[in-house]
């Protein structure tokens, strides 16, 4: 089983781009990733693309081929929809495809366009990731679903709105260092606590912003990277996906998210001896859907582990153990 290297990455600035089409957003990210990778156009064998609410935002289904064209590629293109984990799942499938030997070069990524809709329409669009019969018809919105979990969490483990406010303060502070972040503005705990209530106990700064954006990565096999002398020092050393019941009411625990902590699923985890390993736990790195940039309520979560190493490093012997 071959290892998977990240040959190139591309990202739009996340934010409000209501005038930009989804295909233009993805094109920006995909072309940046392709340029970063320097891989010949003819070598791309697949596009795995994640998108959640394209039918609602742009009345556009069948987005795979639309986005392959936007990326300037002529290859099979498949869209993955898995709520906020959509692009994370696309990434995971790209890793699995290369590991299996079925492809050497895959473009993976995602796009979400939301700000061309109003807040009420976005609220409705995001809510379709909840159970339509048993949750949406009972008024569950996405902030509402998290609010149900937050209150259950406070009851089970303690904590209150002020604790959540510190998370928003920290997130805004981190964004100051990130050119691609939606907001470059520090806030205080009082700002967060005094902001309008969205779904009690969650208020404005506890809820994710409505965001437009796209991202893409070029993934290649170890062998391809070496044959073409690519500068691709980062390997994907593991990928996992966890599941849970779709509706909160069908889950045994309202205050826990076991899907987010399930271990990586074989065969996409390969032990690698690498100088540095860190976890990359948020599928939202490749999917700007607001719902998931906080701890994951989703019934499906994805994680990826990556490690850095010299570009020409040979695959360690332990990597073949699975």
């Amino acid at each position: 089983m071959t290892d998977v290297r990240i040959a190139g990455v591309g990202l739009t600035k996340f934010g409000s781009h209501p005038e930009r089409t989804g295909r233009d957003l993805f094109a920006e990210a995909a072309l940046a990733a392709r340029e970063d990778a320097g891989v010949s156009r003819d070598d791309y064998e697949e596009l795995f693309y994640g998108n959640f609410m394209g039918e609602l935002a742009e009345k556009q289904g069948h987005q795979g081929p639309v986005m392959a064209e936007a990326a300037g590629l002529d290859c099979p293109a498949t869209r993955y929809e898995q709520a906020c984990a959509s692009a994370g799942v696309a990434f995971r499938q790209a890793v699995a495809t290369i590991r299996s030997g079925a492809a050497d070069v895959v473009l993976a990524g995602g796009m979400e366009r939301m700000n061309n809709l109003g807040t009420a329409e976005v609220t409705q669009s995001l809510a379709i990731a909840a159970d339509e019969l048993f949750e949406v018809r009972a008024g569950v919105t996405f902030p509402g679903a998290y609010a149900l979990m937050a209150r259950a969490y406070f009851d089970a483990f303690g904590g209150d709105s002020e604790d959540l406010a510190h998370i928003a303060v920290k997130n805004h502070a981190n964004a100051m260092q990130n050119d691609y972040a939606q907001f470059h503005r520090e806030i205080t705990v009082d700002d967060a606590l005094e902001s309008p209530v969205v779904a009690d106990p969650l208020s404005l700064y506890d809820a994710c912003p409505i965001t437009d954006g796209a991202s893409a990565v070029v993934l290649v096999s170890d062998d391809y990277a070496e044959r073409h002398g690519l500068d691709a020092p980062v390997s994907v050393t593991g990928s996992g996906q966890g599941g849970d019941k779709a509706a909160l009411q069908d889950r045994p625990h309202l205050a826990r998210t076991p899907a987010a902590t399930k271990p990586p699923t074989p065969p996409t985890q390969t032990p690698v001896s690498a100088p540095t390993t860190w976890t990359w736990p948020r599928s939202t790195t490749a999917s700007p859907s607001p719902r998931c940039s906080r701890s994951n309520r989703s019934a499906s979560t994805t994680t990826a582990k990556v490690s850095a190493r010299p570009p020409a490093a040979r695959r360690p012997a332990t990597a073949t153990s699975r």
Binding site: F134, A138, V198, L254
Partner: protein
């Protein structure tokens, strides 16, 4: 729109004859189901829904979807009724009197925005 299985279940609740589906291992679920979501068993029987339930969590929603524009702010809660949990809108109880552990009964009312049937929780005394 007709949703066979779900519609009959909601109508039964409106008639005060609510039920849930039980598998041989005692797991509860709600229709339409052809197998138990917890263990996969295919033998499901209808069992009477307990008359009252207990609120496990709730939220007062201030920013609604368009289908709830005329309801907002409204309280949505999850309540346990024996082996199943239900999600509904709390009626006839001020938001500041809703709490974890509050005992409720379940019924069906009308969504003020859409006019469609809405699962509701009503205050109940033990």
């Amino acid at each position: 729109m007709t949703d066979t299985g779900y519609d009959e279940w909601l109508a039964a609740i409106a008639d005060g004859e609510g039920y849930y589906l039980a598998c041989p291992d005692g797991h509860g679920s709600l229709p339409p189901r052809r197998s138990c979501p917890h263990c996969g068993a295919a033998e499901l029987t209808e069992e009477p829904l307990p008359a009252t339930g207990e609120i496990l969590t709730f939220t007062e929603v201030h920013v609604p979807a368009p289908d709830f524009a005329d309801e907002a702010p409204y309280v949505t809660a999850i309540a346990s009724f024996g082996p199943v949990k239900l999600t509904g809108v709390v009626r006839d109880l001020p938001a500041d009197e809703v709490d974890l552990g509050t005992t409720v009964s379940v019924g069906v009312d009308e969504n003020a925005t859409t006019g469609e049937s809405l699962l509701v929780f009503l205050p109940a005394s033990e």
